[in-house]
Symmetry: C2
Subunit: 192 residues, 2 copies
DNA sequence: CTTGTTGGTCAACGCTTGTTGGCAAATGTA
DNA sequence: TACATTTGCCAACAAGCGTTGACCAACAAG
């Protein structure tokens, strides 16, 4: 039987598990939850579909593992308040283009309740504290964070999912120049 | 055989067709493309699944018919420029809460290529001209329209699809107060 | 060498999906 | 009345899905 201790040595199957996760992220990001089939993910990973079940239990478990996400938001305490918006927008563009996890979460969150819940949790837990340290009334932080999220998610939707041509053609600098004041205002301005 | 003339008299089946369309919009809006099954739509409409095929050909044809959409954007030429943002945001909130077509388009557009194309077309054709009449350089209109769309879609995503609690709890007036300046700036400000 | 564990394939299950064609009743037309 | 069209239901198809359990090869421990 498998050791119960969490710190077991590296197993031979670790490479396989990683390959499954990578394939799953790509498929979830490209196709959404329903059309990302376990069979297709297994084919991409070069193994049998039943292995996915063995290692992740079922499809929901696979998605949960594949969408583990740390936004790695920068520490904004050390920054001049004036540049917060630009820093955040730049950071999100980086994260979105760096790997498939965010696109996968967005695509899945729109049609799958578990995906939506994951998205609410991630943004609430990771963007909320930043808003709390910035906005005039800390009790208003969740709302400020959600407003900023609405603009950032909307941009991600238009640029990486729906692929509106005018948005796709913008450079990263142009996107930052347009969005930074918006995010800045949502996080720091007085309540209108 | 059926008359080829487009202006045939009202048929008995018109009510059925309408019931199918209504059920389809609800299901697409609630479940997205893949999980909105023809069988479920037919059950909602109180008829046999094969009727859906007879009247709309296949599932793609049904979605195309169900997502026919006129944003009914107001004529902004007659309005003071200062209030354009508020008028547009208010109008989109109305449209989004008025029926299921927009939510259906958003949910489907994220996982289905035809849905994404429909979304690009609708926003480009209907929001583009408005931007053209407002922004400093008309050649910049598509980009301005897409920026405004990114904020409006992001809000719709957060409020009606992902249901972020802080966004859901905001009143319509609060949403307008926060978003109007953003949309106003995207459409009318000088290029940053 | 034997034995137990791990990593992996294969074949199948029960179910749901979109889609099709045949048939019966209602309706319209002569 | 007789016929043609429309409207609808029913039963089935082939394909694809998530999931399961039996089985085999490689490896590690004794």
């Amino acid at each position: 039987m498998t050791t119960d201790a969490p710190a077991a040595g590296p197993r031979r199957s670790d490479a396989t598990k990683a390959a499954i996760l990578e394939a799953a992220r790509e498929r979830f990001a490209a196709d959404g939850y329903e059309r990302a089939t376990i069979r297709a993910i297994a084919r991409d990973a070069g193994i049998d579909p039943s292995m996915v079940m063995r290692y992740y239990g079922n499809k929901e478990g696979l998605f949960a593992a594949a969408s583990e996400l740390d936004l790695r938001l920068p520490d904004v305490g050390a920054l001049p308040d004036k540049h917060i918006g630009a820093v955040l927008v730049t950071h999100f563009l980086d994260r979105w283009e760096g790997d498939d996890v965010l696109t996968a979460m967005l695509r899945v969150g729109v049609t799958n309740p578990a995906g939506a819940e994951r998205m609410r949790a991630v943004l609430g837990e990771q963007l909320g504290p930043i808003a709390a340290g910035l906005c005039p009334d800390p009790a208003d932080a969740p709302r400020r964070a959600a407003l900023a999220a609405s603009q950032i998610l909307g941009m991600a939707l238009a640029r990486y999912v729906l692929k509106f041509p005018p948005v796709v053609e913008m450079t990263r600098e142009e996107v930052v120049a347009w969005l930074a004041p918006t995010v800045q205002r949502y996080l720091t301005a007085e309540t209108p």
